[in-house]
Symmetry: C2
Subunit: 390 residues, 2 copies
């Protein structure tokens, strides 16, 4: 059930160890499920109980520590040898007296790692304050270093196989947007349109299946498009409404987001002009993409076009994307905005989403792309325009 | 767009303030998106950037602090007055130098709350170690108290309206299991069966729509049923396989989980006996439910039946359920297992899932129910048996 060759996992671990060495980190505690997946292949929805991957500089394989019932899942999804899958008993779950981080600390002590320089992902969603308190108390001889985003940065440049999955995800995303377009009509409930989206993202395409997204589509109608992260209701659509859909196609946890808007009936001129301005600005960004350009360069390309259209946007216009576990498919390592001097490298993947949210509506057109030596490879094939359903 | 009356939010805030007072907590910092939703109604997929709800004993309404672009979402979904929606600028997002918790600390100081007894949800998924470090450093006059699960415990007894949503979610869950049963057949890809599940959970029923789940179904086929939290593939189903599906119906973020297995063709006798044993044990649990019983009483009822069938299970058989935000629909407050003396009260809601995972397969039958004075109200109407598709 491995979705990558063992050699690929080994090269990821090697890349991570090199990044650890550069920071003087001897043992890395990986709390992020996305980073755990990337490093080991482990893939279960089990991270609602504490789960840790330990990467020690002087050990060949990482060690997965998790709930006993989930150790079986490691057999199917992780490349690790059985002795590197370490389960804790169920009485550590939801207990007032036993915490899985006590178990993790005990194992680190058993492994002779209690006096090491320990990297911890201090601002990862899954590394809570209590985890940190317990580990520091139980490992008084360790030196703690902040290793937030260390693995995320290693993930930025994708392998050929990763790019293949993201291309497939992009094809699924385009099919899902097309399904929404076909389903949307006056009188149809918003939830029934989104049911078609989910049907397509889950089924995938005839040649390769889909799966679940790490986050739902942001999908709003009418006035609610003025807020970027709301969701649909069961109200029926009406003529003259705009349906804003930011969704992701997914393949083996790799997400290719794609955003489009559907207007029911002819759109007002101002709205059409705004959509054209966004499309033009997005094109300018894509035309700027190449190895060696920076995130700030892309933002500047957007700004030039946006300014010419009188469009103002005070938030970033994109971010690196790839493996998605809740709550995000973003890699958290960079932002497409002025001041971000991240240098693009071939194989990096971004979601560029220069959406505009206004007082009473909002418009989005986005693309997910890979950086190549000379440009951008766009994963979805979907008209870059305001969809009009008449 | 509020899905509860304002009076209901006010009573929730009052209940929370009483729990704070009992613990000597003057200001509660609520990091959990589920708790934020319950207290204010705020409902956006925006919690991938830091977001906080502040409940101060001496202020009428909570204060929502979040990303500027998401303040618009609060207008649509939260009952709060505009002055209690406090946005931070986008340069706090994904920054090396600015962190939203600095902004939160500044606002607490502005509000004159820097010297208070502060409750923080130390082990909530969204309260990271770094959040805690920054708040403690920036608020040296404050006294920090661990308030993990304080709000979760207030959420345990549901209102009439909450129960209505969970009943609707239960109906959707039953329809989704039925859709899986109808779609499953030899030669059909697993992902195509799950596409039908997602179509139904998203669309809902004619009288009320569905929405997205906070976690995907756990859905495994064949040997992979030996692990509880994996997901489907795009392999075609084959005669003789078992398809294990734990899914949730959802209505306004309230989840009613429901689990069933589908066997393609006649099941082996041993498997059928195991399923019958689980169903009988589950029935014994449901027969034990009433106000005043404890979680341990329910576990004992299961144990008696399980033992008589020679079934061993070393993990808990259920937990309180309700509002779901990723990564879980569980309320984290209690477990149905021996030693848990949580006393059942009318309106509490649980997912009882005495699943058995064995070396080469697994079987599940589960129900979500509300506690009543005299028994259990079950939300879904679905045969409590191993489904056989022939």
């Amino acid at each position: 059930m491995l979705v990558f060759d063992v050699s690929e996992y080994k090269s990821r671990v090697a890349r991570t160890k090199a990044a650890m060495a550069a920071r003087g980190i001897e043992v890395l505690l990986v709390a992020s499920p996305a980073n755990q997946f990337w490093l080991t292949g482990y893939d279960g929805w089990s991270f609602y109980t504490p789960q840790m991957v330990v990467v020690a500089a002087d050990r060949d394989e990482p060690v997965w520590i998790g709930r006993k019932m989930d150790a079986a899942g490691a057999r199917f999804t992780a490349y690790l040898a059985p002795e590197n899958v370490v389960p804790y008993p169920d009485d550590y779950v939801g207990s007032d007296t036993l915490h899985p981080m006590d178990f993790v600390a005990d194992r680190l002590l058993d492994m002779g790692l209690g006096g090491c320089v320990l990297g911890v992902e201090t601002d990862d969603y899954y590394y809570t304050a209590r985890w940190d308190h317990i580990l520091r108390r139980r490992l008084p001889e360790a030196t703690f270093e902040d290793a937030f985003l260390l693995v995320n940065r290693c993930r930025m440049v994708k392998s050929d196989r990763e790019l293949t999955y993201m291309r497939q995800a992009g094809q699924i995303a385009a099919a899902a947007q097309q399904a929404a377009y076909e389903a949307a009509a006056p009188g149809v409930r918003q939830c029934d349109v989104m049911a078609e989206v989910y049907r397509v993202t889950t089924a995938g395409l005839p040649g390769f299946g889909g799966t679940f997204p790490c986050k739902p589509p942001n999908a709003m109608v009418g006035e609610m498009c003025s807020a970027p992260h709301l969701s649909w209701t069961d109200a029926p659509l009406a003529e003259g409404e705009i349906f804003y859909i930011e969704l992701g196609g997914i393949r083996h946890r790799y997400h290719s987001p794609l955003s489009r808007c559907i207007h029911l009936g002819p759109p007002p001129d101002a709205l059409r002009r705004l959509a054209n301005g966004i499309a033009e600005g997005l094109q300018a960004v894509l035309d700027t993409v190449r190895a060696g350009a920076t995130c700030a360069d892309l933002a500047a390309a957007w700004q030039r076009v946006a300014r010419s259209h009188g469009v103002e946007k005070d938030s970033r216009i994109g971010y690196p994307v790839g493996i998605g576990y809740p709550p995000t498919w973003g890699e958290l390592t960079a932002s497409i905005r002025s001041g971000d001097d991240t240098v693009l490298e071939p194989g990096m993947t971004f979601h560029c989403i220069p959406a505009i949210w206004r007082e009473h509506d909002g418009v989005v057109i986005s693309e997910t792309f890979a950086v190549t030596e000379t440009g951008a490879e766009i994963f979805a094939d979907s008209p870059r325009t305001l969809f009009v359903k008449s």
